[in-house]
Amino acid sequence: MTKKTVIEKIWENHVVNRAEGKPDLLYIDLHLVHEVTSPQAFEGLRISERRVRRPDLTYATMDHNVPTIDRHIINDQVSKKQIETLEQNCREFGIELADIDHPDQGIVHVIGPQLGLTQPGKTIVCGDSHTSTHGAFGALAFGIGTSEVEHVLATQTIWQQRPKTLQIKVNGKLGFGVQSKDIILAIIAKFGVNAGSGYVMEYTGEAIRSLTMEQRMTICNMSIEAGARAGLVSPDETTVEYLRGRRYAPQGEEFEAAAAKWLALATDEGAEYDKTLEIDATEIEPQMTWGTNPSMGSGISGTVPSPDQFEREADKESVRLALDYMGLEAGTKLTDIPVDFVFIGSCTNSRLSDLRAAAEVAKGRKVKDNVTAIVVPGSQTVKQQAEAEGIDKVFMEAGFEWRDSGCSMCLAMNDDIVPAGKRCASTSNRNFEGRQGNGARTHLVSPTMAAAAAVTGHFTDVRQLSSVN
């Protein structure tokens, strides 16, 4: 029998039709919907008098626009309209919705896994590029545009070119104080923002195997920042145990049967990839970005580079523009860069374990006076769980604001905005110009590094703060 990767196995299981001269038509097992990229798709259905083919495989929530304080007061009328439009569309087309008052509301990529909707072997799409997050379960999950959202709503299928496979092998063990966020930032810094273009990535190696599901989600989440639409991890016992007992996962005997199938999806020993890239986990230190795309970063012991250090003219120019936008001088030590804002949240790093790790650093310390620090749990459930553990109190005693769930300051489509010229240590996934607000300067870091920046007032190697694991 041919040896196959998990990517090929899932693909083959979902081909509805394959014909010469066309992409494959794939069936979609789970379609997640949110308020920003869906209104035009539903409108398209209405105009063509089409219905949603599988409302039972479609699940909606609202996350991008929702306020994280006073959730019911949406001052922006356009945002409000978008949220109301989703409510109306879900009613009209019979789609289950976790709305703003629902206990399951949260960031779409946090609640899918939390509810057990996300399962190994599924094809999962959402009108959001960070859909790659769900790949952590050994699902083929990728972001789509609004035309494709409409297409999936109408047909439950999507046309896809068979992707090439890229193995990202993370060898060795992670060092003390290094987080899974640091692995993915290091991968992107090393291989670039389009290393994965045209590929689906599979993360393998000792360091990946030893990660929890939440840590794997952080890595898969940022696959798109390396240019890959999807990135996944082969299912294993960690995956199975995470899903046991979750509401939308199979229950009882059915669960055991499903688990056996899931485990069989793992990449076969000796299966071949179109390409393999390797990185040594032991050499990864806590990371931070200094520029305006996620590859413009390095270990915290580094300095801001000079455009002259880059070979290609295009790269020199990009770095020059980035330093100008970021207000940074070449040669500055990263630990000398001050922060004004700290954001702990987003679909990358807003799960319970992220908040626990950051709270460990915040405990018994104080946010610097000139720093505004906010913690935004990824879902209302994460918020409740954190509160049950007293994590909210730890943060608030340290001077962090404790908010309701949503996408918040990751993309500033809501009230959580970093002002122009201000510098933010952010646990999110994109440091593009203007991402967190016009003129805002974003530095991507892990949750522990963000907390360390909050309590010291500048970027700090979290390993140098005492009592940190």
């Binding site: 039709n17 035009q40 409108e43 545009g145 297409h151 120019e317 523009l321 489509m413 593009f432």
Partner: protein, 199 residues
């Protein structure tokens, strides 16, 4: 979508790599529930300053590029967010053709589905166009059928395109209608996997 085959237009060079969709259409304009009207916001933060005044030094604001319909840019164009508002904005502004050495996967699909021909040329060919389009009124002639790009001074380049996308673009087909002709296959798949029919 509008079919596209032969197209001639003024070229606007945007000499940057990794132009992300947050630049093409900033987040504050994603709240609308329509597909139209995004052109006025394209590259908003590059075209306008904080007070909403035109930034005269930004290339698209220079009079010679007014009405340009072909955008040429550096590699990995359209990276980042999956927002289809990016191609909607480009199209609404007037760009029917984009030329770059490479595109982010989601952006590429989104563009094609809106009738934008995002074509790939080599870095060297893109560099030639970048240079020549500094000249006022520089135009390119694009022929999708023969997969070629030409200017009036002897520049000729050929591009590859997936035959499926080529056919969709040439005919301006609505993809959902195409897929619905596969109904029998979809039904067979559903019967096999879910044991029932959904249509």
């Amino acid at each position: 979508m509008q079919p596209i085959n032969q197209f001639t237009g003024v070229v606007c060079p945007l000499n940057r790599t990794n132009i992300d969709t947050d630049q093409i259409i900033p987040k504050q304009f994603l709240k609308r529930i329509e597909r139209q009207g995004f052109g006025q916001f394209v590259f908003y933060n590059w075209r306008f300053d904080d007070d909403g005044n035109k930034r005269e030094d930004f290339i698209m604001n220079q009079p010679q590029y007014e009405g340009a319909e072909i955008l040429v840019a550096g590699e990995n164009f359209g990276c980042g967010s999956s927002r289809e508002h990016a191609p909607w904005a480009l199209l609404d502004y007037g760009f029917r053709i984009i030329i770059a050495p490479s595109y982010a996967d989601i952006f590429y699909n989104n563009s094609v589905k809106n009738g934008i021909l995002a074509l790939k040329l080599t870095e060297e060919e893109v560099a030639v166009i970048m240079e020549r389009s500094k000249e006022e009124g520089y135009r390119l002639h694009v022929d999708l059928e023969e997969q070629s790009v030409k200017d009036e001074n002897g520049f000729v380049a050929h591009f590859d395109i997936d035959p499926y996308w080529k056919k969709m673009l040439l005919n301006g087909w609505d993809e959902i209608s195409v897929t619905l002709t596969e109904e029998d296959y979809i039904r067979q798949y559903e019967e096999k996997v879910y044991g029932q029919q959904y249509s």
